[in-house]
């Protein structure tokens, strides 16, 4: 058995405040590495062709039911997936199993105009490009100059032709492209408490002030994203955290501000999820948040995630 990680006092007291949290199960889950998963990149070759290539080379894997071309690796490859030829050629994309969900929920389709507002390093952008079959227009934006480089590299590696990469503060993006997009994804910066297995330092740096500050940023990003959306379009908001201030609270803020925003249920096959909170501490959230997808790391022994699907009235 792997030994449990020790959370900071601040993190522990936050976890204790979550009414549905099993702290021991959380610590057990985040003490273990995330399952190794990948997506097959159909922009390069057909799914069947890449599957047969991987099998010929000794890879064993099983399908993830909630994502079209997602797989979980069952054996370890000679060199590690990240430095495999298949990865470097862009035939596969290594990605967390639940992280593949937001792009599916977004339902991008060929010939649409799509915005990924917080795109780097491009896991979801490349998945969206694949679902758009390299047609239409995909705008991939990120504010960070250091994070643009991996975004550019991943978009290239996956063979994406229909992309425009921009480096702007997403809070102001709507100023020049109001109501232009059929689909918008906000995979927001967050406290990352759902992917602690990847980087425990982020979790141990957790403090309440950071979550409060990020929550404000998330609200602004979400409002700007909503402004960019065409009437009738779909917006997906996702985080890899379990913090109500960054999830339920941000969605409630949008619903309060935008009366034409409608929350749609996120229906997922093959994953355990839990009901979002309708209140926390002394804060009451919209009862609509029940429609969002939420899971803790121990629900699936994978990432903790929150996903909201929003439609702008036509």
């Amino acid at each position: 058995m792997s030994s449990l990680v020790t959370p900071s006092d601040e993190l522990l007291s936050f976890l204790k405040e979550l009414p549905d949290m099993d702290i021991e199960a959380y610590l057990d889950a985040v003490s273990k590495p995330l399952p190794e998963c990948f997506r097959i990149n159909t922009l390069k070759l057909s799914e069947e062709r890449i599957i047969s290539l991987l099998r010929d080379r000794g890879w064993q894997f099983e399908k993830l039911p909630w994502v079209k071309t997602g797989y979980k690796l069952l054996n370890s490859t000679e060199r590690g997936v990240g430095s495999s030829m298949e990865h470097m050629l862009g035939l596969i994309y290594i990605q967390g199993p639940i992280s593949m969900l937001p792009a599916e929920v977004l339902e991008p389709a060929p010939r649409m105009i799509v915005l990924d507002l917080c795109a780097s390093p491009g896991s979801k952008s490349t998945q969206i490009a694949q679902l758009m079959r390299n047609t239409g227009i995909l705008v991939c934006n990120d504010v960070s100059s250091t994070r643009i480089k991996p975004l550019v590299a991943n978009i290239q590696r996956c063979g994406v032709i229909n992309s425009i990469i921009t480096q702007s503060d997403g809070r102001y993006f709507h100023r020049w492209v109001r109501e232009q997009f059929d689909r918008v994804l906000v995979d927001a910066p967050c406290s990352s408490l759902g992917i602690v297995s990847k980087d425990w330092t982020a979790a141990n740096k957790y403090n309440e002030k950071i979550s409060k500050r990020i929550s404000k940023l998330q609200q602004s990003l979400l409002i700007s994203a909503y402004e960019c959306l065409k009437p009738g379009g779909l917006l997906v908001y996702s985080t890899c955290t379990i913090h109500p201030l960054e999830n339920e609270n941000v969605i409630t803020y949008l619903l309060d501000k935008k009366k034409d925003a409608e929350l749609l249920p996120v229906l997922v096959e093959g994953l355990r999820s839990r009901s979002p909170l309708e209140e926390w501490r002394d804060i009451k959230f919209s009862s609509e948040v029940k429609k969002c997808f939420k899971c803790y790391p121990y629900d699936n022994y994978a990432e903790g995630f929150f996903i909201a699907k929003i439609r702008k009235e036509a």
Binding site: K44, L45, R49, L53, R57, R79, S83, S84, M85, M88, L89, G90, L91, I113, T135, G136, I137, V139, I148, V152, A153, Q156, R157, G159, V160, I161, N162, S163, I164, I165, T166, Q167, S168, W176, V177, Q180
Partner: protein, 158 residues
């Protein structure tokens, strides 16, 4: 050539692609741009037109080729993109060689092509361009961040 290419400039790139790799009509349906390091990128017209509304555009489309003093080489994606249209200077290697190729290790060829560049493939997997050396080896033109292993000793094939 720089920025979005005119039809004339585009034709010049097309004729290079034809003379090096036998690719015809490779760029017909695309907007072609040339950026830093003489990298040739392609995208769709609607993508280019949409980009005019945006601020702080870093790049768009796919990097497919690079213009050099010696001609034109294809990126991995360029080779994959043009795969069905490449009619000459195409070298087939086996999976073991492909593994070495992706580590940046040059491979020996029996007969030296007249061209400065060739495209290398393993079955239907296209592996980008190689530059022909005078020593009878093909040198992979793969960016460092795409190599499978960063090895200080990039020894040639026996």
């Amino acid at each position: 050539m720089r920025g979005v290419l005119t039809e004339d400039e585009k034709r010049r790139i097309e004729s290079l692609l034809t003379s090096y790799y036998g690719i015809s009509d490779g760029l017909q349906d695309y907007v072609v741009l040339v950026g830093g390091e003489n990298r040739v990128r392609i995208t769709h017209k609607e993508v280019l037109e949409f980009s005019w509304r945006l601020k702080n555009v870093v790049n768009m489309g796919l990097y497919v080729a690079k213009l050099t003093d010696e001609g034109i080489s294809l990126s991995i994606e360029g080779a994959q993109f043009f795969s069905h249209k490449i009619m000459k200077n195409l070298i087939e290697i086996d999976m073991n060689e492909a593994e070495r190729w992706m580590q940046g290790i040059p491979i020996r060829i029996e007969t030296q092509p007249a061209s400065k560049y060739v495209v290398v493939k393993c079955g239907d997997i296209f592996l980008g361009s190689g530059r022909i050396g005078r020593d009878g080896f093909i040198y992979p033109q793969i960016s460092k961040n795409r190599l499978t292993r960063k090895s200080p000793d990039l020894s040639k094939n026996p």
